[in-house]
């Protein structure tokens, strides 16, 4: 038996991939479930469970045929009914899915292997929805499982994916053991990202949870585990020089962003907000958080630098400190000296340094700063509160966003201008929302790019988010032992070999 032992980025707690947006649950879904479509290395959506599909010229009618011979882990064949039930459940939760189902007229089975979607209005992003790599991914489950109400967690772990998970193999907080699904028939084409043939080359994949970064490094160096999904910045020195270790660039980088609360002083005042953004020193903040140059890259664009829509037109925002200007603006804003509360998630090693540095920077500008350490669970609750900071609210928090999502204005969660309905911080900017609508409607790439740049300028001008630069964690494997990792938004375990 070849057993691949790998350290996941966090603890897998919830097994229902429709129930939570947690990345780790998505990764779990990718192990045991299959998807209709998959996104390849280049970002193109390719069929996966689907053998062939057609779209009417007006994009109103879509038909799909499943590959023959698809089987769930319990041996039952995958039918159109299973697909319809799974998509229905997914669409209740996923935003894009909701949009799709709103536009949809019907979805019907055509024989055991085919199904058809008809839309009330043209809907161009069907494939983007069905081949979505990021949570929530439309995984295909057996009908009986998919009929679980969307607000209840599923109980049964039966999919049709390349790995299986037995109940006893799920030991939360310790390890999760996936076994090769011998009955899985991969596509014939070569693998690329989430698309192509998912050929499993190991008998077992064990996700071994190691919380302590030092422990992770030790375990890998000692050969007790075969790979780390993400190398902690702290272990980089040890890894880079060690001949036994190979660092592979698998996952794309993602941006760090500062989110301001537009509801309460001082950041309900545009001048104070601008002052705060001018205090940002991306280099210093990134360096403190990620330590090594290879792990981070300053980037003033709100989109991932180098991605399709990124642009260097960033207006006043440069990512470098402009203290003079900031001080002036702060004075003009009539800031009353009340402490600015920055939330720092003490138990999240990937995010726990930036807020401290940002606090120091804001002090330079003249803000009175209160960096409050909380645990992550408190932070995610607290950020939903619109109260004044002294009543349990907040002013600033810093978050990290997946690179794929952050590459276009629609999937980038925090880019909202619809006030209370929008992302935490609740900025109000109808213009921004209008631009976003135009972006969806437009199909011309050049125009889209232009709109994206306009969005970027609006976002920066209005302080919807402040880009703090990007960071990433390479994956580390034992050199000569593990090979075949596929670049993708998530670490994938098919195609991986262990000698």
């Amino acid at each position: 038996d070849t057993v691949l032992r790998t350290v996941p980025s966090s603890d897998l707690k919830i097994l229902d991939p429709i129930w939570t947006t947690a990345n780790i649950t998505r990764n779990h879904g990718l192990m045991i479930y299959d998807t209709l479509f998959g996104m390849d290395e280049k970002g193109a959506i390719k069929p996966q469970m689907v053998e062939k599909y057609t779209a009417s010229p007006d994009n109103k009618v879509w038909t799909f045929t499943l590959r023959p011979g698809l089987k769930f882990h319990d041996g039952a064949p995958v039918t159109a009914q299973d697909v319809i039930a799974s998509l229905a459940r997914w669409a209740k939760r996923d935003t894009l899915g909701q949009k799709m189902y709103e536009a949809m007229d019907s979805i019907t089975a055509e024989g055991p292997n085919g199904f058809r979607m008809t839309f009330k209005q043209p809907f161009g992003v069907v494939l983007d929805a069905l081949g979505k790599p990021n949570p929530l991914v439309p995984f295909i489950m057996p009908r009986r499982v998919a009929e679980t109400p969307a607000d209840k967690q599923i109980e049964e772990m039966v999919g049709s994916g390349p790995f299986t998970l037995a109940k006893a193999d799920f030991r939360p907080g310790d390890r999760v053991i996936y076994r090769k699904n011998a009955a899985y028939v991969p596509r014939k084409d070569s693998p690329s990202g989430l698309a192509g043939g998912k050929v499993v080359n190991v008998d077992r994949v064990e996700w071994v949870l190691l919380r302590d970064p030092q422990t992770q490094v030790n375990a890998l160096l000692n050969g007790e585990v075969d790979m780390l999904e993400g190398v902690p910045a702290s272990g980089y020195t040890d890894m880079r020089t060690n001949p036994k270790i190979e660092l592979v660039d698998v996952m794309p980088a993602g941006p760090f962003t500062a989110i301001y609360n537009h509801k309460v002083p001082p950041f309900n005042n545009p001048k104070a907000l601008k002052a705060a953004m001018l205090a940002i020193n991306q280099e210093a903040m990134l360096r403190a958080q990620a330590t090594f140059r290879d792990f981070y890259k300053p980037c003033a664009s709100i989109y991932l630098c180098g991605s399709m829509y990124s642009s260097d037109k960033t207006g006043f925002f440069t990512g470098k400190p402009q203290f003079e200007e900031a001080r002036k603006l702060l004075k003009e804003s009539g800031y009353d000296g009340k402490p600015v509360v920055i939330l720092l998630p003490g138990d999240a090693p990937a995010l726990n340094k930036m807020p401290a540095v940002y606090g120091q920077l804001l002090k330079q500008v003249g803000f009175n700063v209160d960096v409050q350490t909380t645990d992550w669970a408190t932070l995610v609750t607290r950020r939903t509160k619109k109260d004044l900071p002294e009543n349990g609210g907040w002013n600033v928090f810093i978050t990290f966003w997946g690179g794929v999502d952050a590459s276009n204005p629609i999937s980038y969660g925090p880019l909202t201008g619809n006030g209370d309905k929008g992302f935490f911080g609740w900025p109000t900017d109808p213009e921004l929302e209008a631009l976003k609508s135009r972006f969806i409607e437009t199909t011309d790439l050049a125009q889209r790019k232009d709109i994206a740049t306009q969005i970027q300028l609006r976002v920066l001008e209005g302080g919807v988010i402040a880009p703090l630069g990007e960071g990433k964690a390479p994956t580390a494997v034992r050199r000569g032992v593990v090979s075949g990792l596929l670049p993708s938004p998530a670490v994938l375990y098919w195609n991986v070999r262990k000698n």
Binding site: P321, K353, Q360
Partner: protein, 311 residues
């Protein structure tokens, strides 16, 4: 037989009790006490004189100069843009802060945490223990509650309290005080129960001494010696507990330098930069050691059991 004044009599007192050396000199005769207090004094000096001991602002950072080794010279540029040459006796941490300055200022916090927890848990435990020991009717109830508190793992308390209020010095102190209190309460209660049976307490009752005076004058002073000893142990334990809380990410925010903080900051770099953990660790261990030695020594010196004559 007629006179009632035999020779030894109306002389001044104390013809026999070999003049006991004063308590203080007795205590200081103990080697552990001496070593402990000297070491502790050094730490107190470090804490008080931190600003004058070649330190810079413990929060001043230059991420470009992160992880300098101990003894490095570097050009340090603060976030404000000022730059200066500096020698870093203990190197810098992952955010480019001077570890020596943080350690020196950290002494203030760590020592305060230790002392405050010791005082707090003793004050609280004393109150509870006295009430339980003296008012027998409340005893059962109070001690059951104390049992309950003891039965809850301290770490749970710590996390929950820190989450309820945010991590500040006072929360951290309270989070360590609460689990320590029942132990102190038990100690005090047992002393009260045994002292209550002392003839001099009975005599005081016979003299119609009111309850509060009885407590204050006759019972309370007896708890002092064991409590001092207990206090030193609590103090030492508190400094370690603070470090562990920092380790779990629920300690004081990192802009409040404490030894625990500094070490947990550096722990992820233990193999590559062990000094970031070990150097502050030496300070912590030395202080805890000093306090423990003081406690041990005091116990030996204050315990009447070992001062009584051998036979």
């Amino acid at each position: 037989m007629t006179s009632i004044s035999p020779p030894v009599d109306t002389t001044t007192a104390a013809p026999r009790s070999h003049r006991k050396p004063s308590l203080l000199s007795r205590v200081f005769a103990n080697g552990a006490v001496r070593t402990g207090s000297v070491l502790l004094c050094l730490m107190v000096v470090l804490a008080v004189a931190a600003p004058w001991l070649y330190t810079i602002d413990p929060n001043a950072m230059d991420p470009a100069n992160s992880h300098l080794s101990p003894g490095a010279h570097a050009e340090f540029t603060t976030l404000a843009g000022d730059s200066f040459q500096r020698f870093f006796p203990m190197g810098t941490d992952s955010m480019g802060r001077d570890i020596w300055s943080r350690t020196a200022y950290g002494a203030r916090i760590s020592l305060s945490v230790g002392v405050a927890v010791a005082l707090g848990s003793i004050a609280l435990g004393m109150l509870v223990g006295m009430v339980a020991g003296y008012f027998r009717r409340l005893d059962g109830t109070i001690m059951r509650v104390m049992d309950g508190v003891m039965a809850i793992p301290g770490i749970l308390f710590a996390i929950v309290l820190v989450a309820v209020w945010r991590p500040s010095l006072w929360t951290v102190i309270l989070a360590i005080v609460v689990p320590e209190t029942p132990r102190v309460a038990r100690l005090v209660r047992s002393v009260v129960l045994s002292v209550r049976e002392e003839p001099y307490v009975e005599a005081a009752i016979a003299l119609d001494t009111p309850a509060w005076k009885l407590m204050l004058r006759h019972i309370l002073p007896n708890t002092v010696a064991p409590l001092i000893v207990q206090g030193t142990f609590v103090c030492a334990a508190a400094m370690l507990a603070e470090a562990v809380m920092s380790f779990l990410g629920i300690g004081l925010p990192s802009d409040v330098p404490t030894w625990g903080n500094i070490m947990s900051e550096g722990r992820a770099y233990f193999t590559s930069h062990p000094s970031t953990v070990l150097l502050p660790g030496v300070f912590l261990a030395a202080t805890v050691l000093a306090v423990n030695m003081l406690g041990d020594g005091l116990r030996d010196a204050l315990d009447p059991k070992f001062n009584k004559r051998g036979s």
